[in-house]
């Protein structure tokens, strides 16, 4: 089920009323949440609920076993969790990628190997809930978390519908304590939650989806467009993916607030960053912090000398890229980020500075936009074609396509950017912005957003991050 669907418009108020009808018994609320979440997920494809249940049961059991085992056996139980979760992810997400790549590599040596390609459907959200369950087991192994003995609470943690299919990747240390206690809904949560849900809807349905029409048209025929068109389309894509994913996160965080949960911030105006290092502290924060805590630090972080630090950075970003999808383009995207992060680390340590000056905004945006070419292009050939055209400065008349769509996209982007600029100047996070409004002002603001949505909504099949 999509947040921007009519079904969700019926689903959420129903869950909301039922859920708060049992506000005195949080255990019953948890049962309602699990049923609702499974319904939410099953609406897409009920068969894959079995995977979700398997993953939840496994890590629930492993968590208890890690805690109860003697020190020498703890690692074995952690390996069970790692192998099972990453194994599932490997089969469903990367099997065809690795067999294809192997076959291609072999053919490079002159050996013909028939790639064993299976018709595998990628279960929605598997990358997100796998990381969530993994972090639970690792935290227990590191003795940073006590396992829960409440099976329903754990199932709620893994499946909680606002974050189930595209994050934010919530840590057990933040969410499970909230699940295992009485929850309340106060005026602040209502105001900030409602505000964030509607901002998220506007970001996704109005801004991102309108920009997406132009981007899709240009990228589908990238070979016939000139540098001007490809540059504009890539910049549009930079904002499309930002408003698409941050919009999704806003709806998720806002919805969770209305259920009495506090999720961590997932986006914090990433394009207002003066370095790539800062960008990754503001972009998809739940993933970047996950990669930092469970991959970069596990590899040794910056504790084993400068060379190993660069290696770790690069490796983390390469794997972070691969997490997004089974394509070499994502690996290249991660590689570009890894290289520039290493470069920044070198510059910052050499010149003893913490970040760049105002020029850093331009530099960061340019690097990020450049890397999006690989992220968005259909394949490596298309990406290299686009890069070649842009770099060789083959500018010319800008392709506009449907003038209404183009103007709408531009207009809505300006509105989105003005709002972001205002947020940036105000020093108030979007998550808390709703408290500035009294009931009447909030109603007015939401009403205007609704009318804007009516006038400018554009239909998109999915949220971009559903494919990851």
């Amino acid at each position: 089920m999509l947040f921007n669907s009519l079904e969700f418009l019926i689903f959420f108020p129903t869950v909301f009323i039922l859920y708060w009808a049992f506000s005195k018994d949080y255990k019953k609320q948890n049962i309602i949440l699990v049923i609702a979440s499974y319904f939410f997920y099953g609406w897409w494809d009920w068969r894959f609920l079995s995977l979700l249940i398997f993953s939840s049961l496994l890590d629930y059991y492993v968590g208890i076993k890690i805690e109860d085992s003697k020190t020498e056996h703890k690692k074995n139980w952690l390996l069970v969790s790692l192998c099972s979760n990453l194994g599932l992810l490997g089969v469903f997400k990367y099997f065809n990628f690795f067999t294809d790549s192997f076959a291609e590599l072999m053919s490079g040596f002159g050996w013909q190997v028939d790639a064993l390609t299976l018709n595998i459907i990628l279960p929605v959200g598997i990358s997100f809930y796998t990381f969530q369950t993994l972090s639970y087991s690792i935290d227990i192994y590191r003795q940073q978390l006590k396992p829960t003995k409440d099976l329903v609470a754990f199932f709620t943690y893994v499946s909680l519908f606002p974050q189930l299919v595209a994050g934010p990747i919530e840590r057990a240390s933040n969410l499970i304590p909230q699940i295992e206690k009485h929850r309340t809904l106060n005026s602040t949560l209502i105001r900030t939650g409602v505000f964030q849900v509607f901002i998220g809807l506007f970001r996704k349905i109005a801004i991102a989806d309108n920009l997406g029409i132009y981007v899709d048209t240009v990228y589908a025929n990238n070979d016939i467009h000139n540098a001007s068109t490809l540059t504009v389309a890539t910049i549009f894509y930079a904002f499309q993916i930002y408003y698409d994913f941050s919009g999704y996160s806003d709806i998720a965080i806002g919805t969770a607030k209305l259920l009495g949960f506090k999720f961590n911030q997932n986006f914090n105006l990433p394009y207002f960053s003066r370095s790539l290092t800062e960008f990754w502290r503001r972009w998809h924060m739940s993933l970047s912090f996950w990669l930092r805590d469970y991959l970069y630090i596990s590899l040794g972080g910056n504790r084993k000398g400068i060379v190993i630090t660069y290696r770790n950075l690069l490796l983390t970003m390469l794997l972070g890229g691969l997490w997004h999808g089974s394509s070499w383009n994502f690996v290249i995207w991660g590689g570009i980020h890894g290289l520039f992060l290493s470069f920044e680390k070198y510059i910052f340590s050499t010149f003893k500075i913490k970040t760049f000056n105002a020029f850093g905004y331009v530099y960061t945006f340019a690097v990020v936009v450049f890397s999006w070419i690989f992220f968005r292009a259909q394949d490596f050939h298309s990406a290299s074609n686009i890069v070649h055209k842009i770099v060789s400065l083959q500018f010319g008349t800008l392709f506009i396509g449907n003038i209404n769509t183009f103007v709408n996209g531009l207009l809505l982007l300006c509105i989105g950017l003005c709002f972001d600029l205002n947020l940036f100047k105000s020093d108030i996070a979007l998550e808390n912005y709703g408290v500035k409004f009294n009931t009447l002002k909030l109603s007015l603001f939401v009403s205007v957003l609704i009318i804007m949505l009516c006038l400018f909504y554009s239909t998109s099949e999915n949220f971009i991050y559903f494919q990851f």
Binding site: I190, D223, S443, V446, I450, C454, F456
Partner: protein, 312 residues
Amino acid sequence: MLKPNIILVLKLTVLVLSISYLVDKVIFYSLNTLSDNVMTGQSIGKLNQFLTVKDSVDCVVLGNSRANHHIDVSLLNTSAYNMGIDGTGIAYISALTHSLDKQHNQLVLVHIDTKDFFDLNYNGSDIKTLSAKFNRDKNITASLKQSGLISPLQYFYYTINYNNKLTGILKNYFQPSYNYQMYNGFDPLILSEDQQKIRDEILLKQENEECSQLTTINPIALNYLEHIKEDAEQENKTYIFITSPIYNDTCPEDNLKLKKLLTEAGLTYWDFSNLFKDLNDTSLWKDETHMSAFGAEQFTLHLKQKLESISY
């Protein structure tokens, strides 16, 4: 949940619904006033002009962008209006044929493409382009309701009917795109040098289309064809279905199947898909599916001859 919070949730819900309902109506009726005076542009003006002239001309051309760019109605021997609109399909055409005056003697040229019938993903959503006339034009409203594609939200928020049309309306209200009194609906594609280069690249890269999956007829398209057939059976109308040329049609099977379908339904169908195939003249084209102004002229002259052969 505490009582004050229940009250806050209820208060917010009622306020949002009431305010948004009111704002929606104010904007909707303002847009009605504006859009009724817009006669240019594809978002609403062309439809307004069509609704004004449809029962006074002797020939109307209905269809998608290919109809719009390929049939120069000024070359025909009769007063005519070209109502080809980008991105529309058989559902949209059906709504327009339904809106024609049954008493008026008229030639209706319906431009169709085989993909309109063999694309199984087609759901008739092109009819939603007419939403601006929902509850404002009797025939179009009936067609929209019959399509089943009207969202329940449209009964509460009327501005949805103007979805993605606002900028077009405002632009054409304050600055009309052309003199609509001199406009007959035909938009020739005149190519700049840059566009000619792009065209040549596109045509060079033409690959053979996969034909095997194009043999099942879309039931929704078929249903709309039935509706058009009902309109075509009226005494005062002559309906001719046509497919204009495409650069390289490598799938003759679907054309033959479509021809069989229309012939069995008692409808006249002229398939010109391969009319220019052997000429190898790229100046006739803008891309693989759209002809240039020169191509449109050549095609319309051919069509005119064919119409004359049946005394039109």
